[in-house]
Amino acid sequence: MAGEGLVSMKPSSISFTGTGATINSHGGVDFTSATVVSLNGVFTSSYDNYLMVISNINTSGQANITARMRVGGVDATGTNYVRQYMFVTGTSVTTARTTSESVLFIGGGDAELWSGDAVHIYGPALAQPTITRNVSVAGELGAYIQENVSSHSLSTSYDGLTLFLASQSSGNLHVFGYEE
């Protein structure tokens, strides 16, 4: 049966560090006071591109969300990631590129539940470099914009990723495949 354009990608398994993380009935993941959440089996040969929505984040402090690509239960830990970011707060626009990173930057959380993040992931299951773009909103100072574009240079096929939350965080995430 065909989906309707955006297909829910239920993980084949998850692991975590923290109080708890579970796969819910819709195929998303609910996590509680976690600093690490690993998703396995969310990227497949069925789809080239994916969308991950992260919401309802409640962190113990405002912090970035980072990630590593993953295959067969093993994270890609090399310094093969590059990041271009843009922060906009008030009249201040800050942008810069950082290289030789060991993680992707895919968003930020907020201690007051005021955050939402859409992460676009291109080609993770293909044996080619993977790229991501996140577009987020957070409530620090009322409202601010954080965007990141990250690339991972290895031509490796990945089936998942691990999220790192700098502060203990609770929330929900869901990975979707774009139907082709």
Binding site: M9, V42, Y47, S55, V93, L113, V135, V137, G142, A143
Partner: protein
Amino acid sequence: MSLYKGFGAFASSGTAAPGMVLLTPTSITHTGTSASVGANGQVTFTAVSNLSINGVFSADFDNYVVSIEGTGSTSVSTYYRWRAAGTDNSTANSYVDQRILADGSSITGTRFSAANFGQSPFEPRNTQRAGATWHIYNPFLAVPTVNRVLSISDYLGAQIYDTAGTHNQSASYDGFTLITSTGSITGTLQVYGVRS
């Protein structure tokens, strides 16, 4: 409760399931020429200065995406208010928006604070056509609602007009209202629920 179609299986089991579901408002109201709801839930509006969408946010979904496109009768800015049971929330100082505008080689950041409405989900300039993808997080939950708009304005051909917005009331909403600064808007919008 809004109406939608849903399926129970997932891609990992070999059967696809919809991750984003087109929703049908329970009702709409408008000020202007006309507004109607199509068979699948798309809203079509003509020369409206106020458009209220009711019953699209529910306990079925935490997060939503609104896709909107159209034109303005003149250079139009739109504002929004969250809505519950047919009443807009216009609490003083409850909406804050951070905007970034890219116009030619100029990039401008602006924060709008202390408002009783939110800024700029849709910015047609009456030259070509404008569009926006509006991500809305947690509107039905009794927590502050946040949103992120990626939009194109047709001013001077093309402008990037992005906004991040927060609303500090821990209230549950079932819809929203679009309000124009001046003039009217004509176009279509769809509201999608995103699976959690």
